[in-house]
């Protein structure tokens, strides 16, 4: 539904309409600064706690800034857990998800937007219809399906749900509909096949839509908890999210270690958000996804 709201790649927060800055903007700062600090506090605590020596956490009154900075938490994290393996698993899952999503959804989006074939409209209608189906309806049968396929306790169980999505197909179709059809017609008249025209002419033009789709898939697959949770029990096959969630149950007392794990799991996305904020916002407006 969010899908219908805006152009997939419209610039979102390019900046408010220009207005002269008046002295009154001081009030604006007085309102905004505390709110922004409040939003930043949990992450700041996460970083600080990951660097806090163990003794500090049980002192009273509790301190916000650690008395000294230590990497103990990280040292223990890397020694006592498979965090590197989990990181590798998550990177692999997200990479497969993104590559597969981009290829399958842009092919299908192009087919539904530009080609004429029997069953096209019915097929597209069914795909859009699946957007209404909530995830929890699918948990039980998907679990059974995965166990019949023999992929329980393998990373495939975390990847398969992210290979393609109705949202991705819809997004790419909308984008391809907005391109002038003359582009690939010229290429085909010049002797390209459909696939060559798609690959050489159309896909390079679709970069903004592909960026939106890639971020959608990255956020969703990196932060996914439900599918790994129901399908993976073997700690060797954990994703980062599953790993740190399990940690939390087991080591509630060792906060610097827990927060170090949290930093390792979250920092890549934070860094990426800081670099590509504009694309993230475009993705957000278009999808409303939140893991």
């Amino acid at each position: 539904m969010a899908l219908l709201l805006r152009d997939p790649v419209a610039p979102v927060v390019d900046g408010p309409p220009a207005r002269r800055t008046r002295p009154r903007s001081l009030w604006w700062h007085l309102l905004l600064a505390p709110v922004a600090l409040l939003f930043a506090t949990p992450f700041v605590q996460m970083f600080l706690t990951s660097l806090t020596p163990k003794e500090d956490i049980n002192t009273f009154p509790p301190r916000f800034f650690p008395s000294s900075v230590t990497l103990e938490g990280y040292a223990k994290l890397f020694e006592q857990s498979d965090i590197l393996r989990w990181m590798g698993n998550t990177v692999l899952v997200s990479a497969v998800a993104i590559v597969s999503h981009l290829i399958l959804c842009s092919l299908a989006g192009y087919g539904f937007a530009r080609l004429t074939f029997k069953g096209r409209d019915v097929g597209f209608f069914m795909i859009v219809g699946t957007i209404m189906i909530p995830t929890q309806l699918l948990m039980v049968p998907t679990y059974i399906l995965f166990s019949r396929l023999g992929i329980i306790d393998t990373l495939a169980a975390a990847m398969v749900p992210w290979l393609a999505s109705a949202f991705g197909i819809f997004l790419m179709r909308q984008f391809f509909l907005s391109l002038p059809p003359e582009l690939e017609e010229a290429a085909i008249v010049d002797g390209c096949t459909r696939l060559q025209a798609f690959w050489r002419i159309i896909l390079p033009l679709a970069r903004p839509a592909l960026a939106t789709l890639a971020i959608f898939t990255l956020l969703g697959s990196w932060n996914d908890l439900v599918w790994p949770l129901i399908a993976i029990n073997d700690p060797q096959q954990f994703t980062l999210q599953l790993g740190i969630t399990n940690f939390q149950g087991a080591r509630r007392t060792d906060w610097s270690l827990l927060m170090a794990g949290n930093v390792v799991a979250t920092l890549p996305l934070i860094a990426f958000f800081l670099v590509a904020q504009r694309q993230f916002l475009a993705t957000m407006t278009f999808s409303g996804i939140k893991g």
Binding site: M1, L5, L138, Q241, A265, I270, F273
Partner: protein, 315 residues
Amino acid sequence: MSAATATADPVEAHPGRTARRPARARARRANLTGWGFVAPATAVVLGLSAFPAVWAFILSLQDWNGFGTAEPVGLENYSAMVSDAELHAAVTHTVVYTALFVPASVLLGLLLAVLLNRRIVLIGVYRTLIFLPFVASAAATGILTTYLFNPQFGLVNNVLRVVGLPQQGWLEDPAQAMVVITLMSLWGQAAFTTVIYLAALQDIPAELTEAARIDGANRWQAFWHVTFPQLAPVTVFVAIWQTISAIQLFDLVYTTTRGGPLKATETIVYYLWSAAFKDLELGYASAVAYGLFAVTLLITIAVTLYSRRTKVGAF
């Protein structure tokens, strides 16, 4: 659709190559090309949603623990829901959460969007700080929540102590746990409603408010009488979207309280999950999932119809 029909295979417009080929063969070729493009993604999407959705319905008519033989029980799973006290409690908790979360997230998004829709120094920094929590996963948010709201050494109780207010139990108090979960959901999701409102605010022509100001309205009046009505479709959309996500709350409950204390935060989906994967009542869990699906659909349809009738339609 019309755009696609208009572009029908351009090869057809190239008589030299196609004149000799019979029409039927050409149609077959077009079908093959078309399905060649769309089949892989279509198979994945339908195979992982439409197919399991139908399967879930069949399961909901059975009594099955996943191992033995499934026994057909007709609509018994659905009628069992009527007298299931734990499910009723879960529905209540979910309704409480939705009632807290949806209005709060809509108002917060509107407020933040208005605040951020101004070109002043540092606005980029403010915006980044407010939007950044959007990348926090449920797992990360869960760990942060248990730490910040820890009754002994958590930051929140420490702030209360400094300003002289009584200490609270937060996640350990059945009356407060859901409030804490709401607060942290807002932290993680405020960016979504804010960005939507921000985009909508920037689509409103500046002349509208300027005209109102010239006519003597003050800033506040101009906002409520001119800007806010323009945002009505967005408000309807955001409210539906947030309601649907609120009644499906699961992740953050799993990563903070696991339904506790004393099942005070057990939501419908958490109950569904534990019925399926802890108690292995696969049929019953599927029936609950279908019940939830039906409610979600009804809410969506009702709000859509209502907004159509009152002409604020977002759809």
